[in-house]
Symmetry: C2
Subunit: 248 residues, 2 copies
């Protein structure tokens, strides 16, 4: 019987710009190391911190547009809005206190992924890694055992409450499993079955990480059939392009 197991990787130290995240993850894993069929899921915050993807509010100058958007949203800090605008390729919605943007990577999410929580310092905002697929590839290459690596963020959904973790960077795991054109259990074609494997792996991993527990990483086993020898297309394959977007 197929079995999935997810375990939090505890004991990671505070990560600061320039830190060797791969070494810290390997140390947290301990002597056994990682294995090739495992999936290491890492919240992007520690990746962003290690890479220095941080902005200090004190160094941000809000533009007139940021001031206008901040006011429209009911009195946000215009400098925070400025950082969001800096990260955004396009503002999708700015109403009812919510600022939803398409990032330069193509992700559509609240505040273009800019977040103050778990930043580790007051007045510091964490942004998404510049190239999360590249970050995942570098982590994978640096880790003995070469586990698949998934970097995650928590995204809201247009029509559902709450957030689910999704993959924003992937190396060595199939982002999607395509059953379209394949047969169901009765031999009929499965029309719409195109499974976001990496997003579901991100969601599973989030269930074992407490948000305040300094456990930004988890290890999944049981997904060996989705693990690939090459880095693969990455989370870029999960992005629905602007031209396919029915909800701009």
């Amino acid at each position: 019987v197929s079995e999935l197991r997810a375990r939090a990787l505890a004991g990671l130290p505070e990560i600061r710009p320039g830190d060797d995240l791969a070494a810290a993850l390997a140390a947290a894993r301990g002597g056994a190391g990682f294995a090739a069929g495992e999936v290491l899921v890492v919240a992007h915050k520690v990746v962003s911190k290690a890479e220095g993807a941080l902005r200090r509010l004190a160094e941000v100058q809000a533009s007139p547009r940021a001031v206008e958007v901040a006011e429209r949203l009911g009195g946000r800090d215009p400098r925070h809005v400025q950082v969001v605008l800096d990260e955004a390729a396009e503002v999708v919605r700015a109403e009812r206190g919510v600022l939803i943007a398409r990032t330069r990577h193509g992700f559509v999410c609240a505040n273009a992924g800019v977040d103050a929580s778990n930043a580790g310092e007051d007045g510091v905002l964490v942004t998404l890694p510049r190239d999360p697929d590249g970050s995942a590839r570098r982590l994978r290459d640096a880790l003995a055992g070469r586990p698949a690596v998934v970097i995650t963020d928590s995204f809201g959904r247009a029509w559902r409450h709450g957030q689910c973790d999704v993959a924003i960077g992937i190396a060595g795991l199939a982002p999607l499993e395509d059953w379209r054109g394949r047969a169901d259990a009765y031999g009929r074609e499965l029309h719409a079955t195109w499974i976001a494997v990496a997003d579901q792996a991100a969601a599973a991993a989030d269930l074992v990480r407490g948000k305040d527990a300094r456990a930004p990483a988890a290890v999944l086993t049981g997904l060996e059939r989705f693990v690939t020898p090459d880095a693969g297309p990455g989370a870029a394959a999960l992005v629905r392009g602007r031209d396919e977007d029915l909800f701009r």
Copy 2:
């Protein structure tokens, strides 16, 4: 260390209208039975089939509106579109071959959840259960050991490729975990952290079920902290109301 485990529940027989699904699930689980802290995740198709939530195309008369929408979508079967319209409280988008609707339950998804795959018979469409939270409560009450029950469907996402399983019916599991207003690892307020626990459980369970494997159910352990003694608010708590919808 916190650990999540998900195992497919194999050996469920073909389910037909009027079948005792709880008895079939208990038989598939075997002698050990379920335990109170476990989460039983069931794809809605077997629930819908047991409840007779099926439509025969041969008995459907397409309305002029269904004919018009079917044509606009590039030549769909107008009777299939009619069944979708019958299930829909509101059509959200009907363009580029995609029909997205808000169901009577409030779920926004492709084809209002109407699906032909794994229906078990040609010319038969499976619809969502009429009251999936009620279905989950009835299953939970009928199962020895009273596991939490989550009934799932696979939903696409507005801005990401592929589908993730989500919870459309819940009994005995917290749908959401609310960290809003609570502190992060550094004592700062976690502003936007409201975790869709049941949706993430649905996603984790889907990773162990093959779409053609006649394994419509899975058992999760390690989520005991989200399991509740009462049935709880159900998946209704996950629905973002029409009045909160920024993407109509």
